[in-house]
């Protein structure tokens, strides 16, 4: 059904993370975009904001509902995907291509506590 990539990590709240060096790229999963339906607004943090693992860093609003985005990592926001300001629907087209924020993480090993593709796939089946 929904697409799940093997080479990235997942939070059970349906965010994904790709870690390169100490920069984590964060977005929402294909499962999440599918469940939300047409996304009409992505509320993003600002560059320089501190984010904490498990706490909200923004929200996505669809025609069905508004959902908080929970950060899968802790650190400082270094970049946000400005393309989503005008075209939030990009997340529906390609949830893994259209990331939401990039974070300079405090502790790269934190990512090991997140789910791998197999464990995340199991959550989506439930």
């Amino acid at each position: 059904m929904s697409k799940i990539l093997d080479d990235i990590r997942y939070a059970d709240s349906h965010e994904w993370v790709r870690l390169e060096g100490d920069i984590a790229t964060v977005g929402i999963t294909d499962y999440a975009q599918h469940a939300l339906g047409d996304i009409v607004y992505v509320d993003m943090p600002e560059v320089g904001d501190e984010v904490t693992k498990g706490e909200d860093f923004g929200a996505v609003e669809s025609v069905k509902a508004a959902s908080d985005l929970l950060s899968p990592v802790s650190g400082e926001v270094v970049e946000i995907n400005e393309a989503l300001e005008d075209e939030p629907g990009l997340v529906n087209q390609d949830a893994f291509g259209n990331w939401i924020m990039k974070v300079k993480v405090n502790d790269p090993s934190e990512i090991d506590t997140l789910l791998d593709a197999a464990a995340y796939a199991k959550i989506c089946e439930e």
Binding site: V40, Y41, V63, S67, P88, G89
Partner: protein, 488 residues
């Protein structure tokens, strides 16, 4: 006139009007007295139309309306019961309708008595000590109740209690009201049947908790069977229990929130007590409290003296005023008329009939629609979309198709516990014939979804507006005539 969609501004013609004033023979142009710098520079831009234009315009618009008076309206969580016409007759009585809130209380004893009596009727139905009828609607009642909660803790010098626990299945107004009241929201998980997970609740209960907001029956229409245990735990931790009265209908006259351990609650007169709501409101959201919270209720209050006279009182420990005067008084008259019309016995039949109707629909449809929570529900229940989802027909499609068959859609995509939620609340005022017709139509839609899914996805086909572009409406809302003109 089937597809009437004009704006009154489009009917406007320069100089056309619905009145004619006699010529000014006495040179009394009041405008001369107004200083030039206070005069409008531009025209007001009001439509210039005849009386007939106005009457036809609004009659045609009203014909597009759908309400409880037009058809079945099973909007879950909203209790769209019939609004008896005797309520309107009572509320329109000139002896009440023509009084002014600044009149001397001596001259409006009847109105004050009505306020007092309704307050007492609600207190006895809720098992609480006193109600204020001043808040304007449900969410306003929530805010008022949470202000009482804050004031209670502050009055004891307990300033650490800044958090409110809200279940993740709660009505969206609960966390929103808590935020507006300056409290922090902490979420407690629900079990699969929508009831609060007591084990998840326990670790949250510390000395920073002001209270918990709950509704019972819960959002899935199931009775919260562990409520006494939850009340004990919250009270032991020093917190208060808030009851969201949105789901009071099935319990009316049978179970009292006060007896379940709740300290504060609001009631939606426009749901449970049959006053109009939606476009037909306004609402009214009385707030009731237990004995030791009475003094914090908003001003003004109505008191009855030993001589039987009613007075208007402003308490010094009150949290202040939350409305102009006593709130929506006309709505109170309708609710009071409803209570007296039903009487003690009638009121006790409301809940069982609402519960029977909901279970009748649920049991008759669960072969075609996915019922995530088995068992006897109260006044409402939730389906998680069609049972057979293989043709891609969604809850939204089913809801739109229902419009073609002349029914209002149920509440959809709430609660968020399921992806395809469809929340159905028939209320007690519907006949078995209406329920049967609704059931038959939903079976038919399920059949269409299997055999001809594209037709369902294209619905609605017979309404005055077709399938709306919801994404476009959310992204580029056109909310004023000006912005419509700018777009054209």
């Amino acid at each position: 006139m089937k597809h009437y969609d004009k704006l009154i501004f489009e009917l406007s013609r320069p100089g056309r009007k619905g009145y004619e004033l006699p010529a000014d023979r006495y040179d009394t142009d009041g405008l001369k007295e107004i200083p030039a710098d206070l005069m409008r520079k531009e025209d007001l831009g009001l439509p210039e139309v005849s009386e007939l234009d106005v009457v036809r315009h609004y009659t045609n618009l009203s014909n597009k309306n759908f309400g409880v008076d037009t058809g079945f309206y099973p909007l879950g969580s909203c209790t769209m019961k019939y609004n008896p016409k005797i309520n309107e007759e009572v509320a329109a009585m000139a002896d009440f309708a023509a009084i002014h809130p600044l009149q001397n209380p001596e001259t409006v004893q009847g109105a004050l008595e009505l306020y007092y009596n309704l307050q007492h009727a609600l207190s006895s139905l809720a098992g609480l000590a006193e109600f204020t009828l001043n808040p304007y609607a449900g969410a306003h009642g929530e805010l008022t109740g949470l202000m009482v909660m804050r004031r209670y803790h502050e009055s004891r010098g307990d300033n650490k209690r800044t958090k409110v626990i809200v279940p993740n299945s709660a009505h969206g107004t609960n966390p929103a009201s808590a935020m507006v009241a300056g409290l922090e929201v902490v979420e407690v998980k629900s079990k699969p049947n929508g009831s609060i997970d007591v084990e998840d609740l326990k670790p949250l209960l510390d000395d920073t908790i002001a209270g918990i907001m709950m509704t019972n029956p819960n959002t899935l229409g199931m009775f919260e069977t562990e409520i006494l245990k939850i009340a004990k735990l919250v009270h032991e931790a020093g917190g208060l229990l808030y009851y969201d009265g949105a789901n009071l209908n099935p319990l009316l006259g049978k179970v009292r929130p006060g007896d379940m351990g709740f300290d504060i609650m609001h009631i939606n007169l426009h749901k449970t007590f049959s006053t109009p709501h939606g476009g037909g409101g306004p609402g009214s959201g009385p707030v009731g409290v237990v004995e030791h919270l009475r003094e914090f209720l908003p001003n003004p209050r109505v008191r009855k003296g030993e001589d039987g006279k009613f007075t208007v009182d402003f308490g010094k420990d009150s949290l202040g005023s939350v409305s102009t005067f006593f709130g929506n008084f006309g709505v109170m008259m309708k609710a009071y008329a409803y209570i007296l019309t039903l009487g003690k016995e009638g009121i006790r039949n409301v809940g069982p009939m609402a519960t029977l109707n909901a279970n009748y629909i649920k049991e008759n449809l669960k072969n075609d629609y996915l019922l995530p929570i088995e068992g006897v529900c109260k006044h409402e229940f939730v389906f998680d979309g069609l049972k057979d989802k293989s043709t891609g027909v969604t809850t939204l499609n089913v809801a739109k198709r229902l419009l073609d068959y002349g029914f209002h859609a149920p509440t959809i995509y709430f609660p968020l516990l399921f992806h395809e939620s469809m929340m159905i609340e028939p209320t007690e005022t519907e006949s078995i014939e209406t329920l049967d017709e609704f059931i038959e139509v939903l079976h038919k839609v399920a059949k269409e979804a299997r055999e001809n899914p594209d037709a369902v996805k294209d619905a609605p086909l017979t309404t005055s507006v077709r399938h709306l572009d919801e994404t476009g409406a959310a992204k580029n809302p056109i909310l004023t005539y000006k912005s419509l003109k700018a777009q054209q």
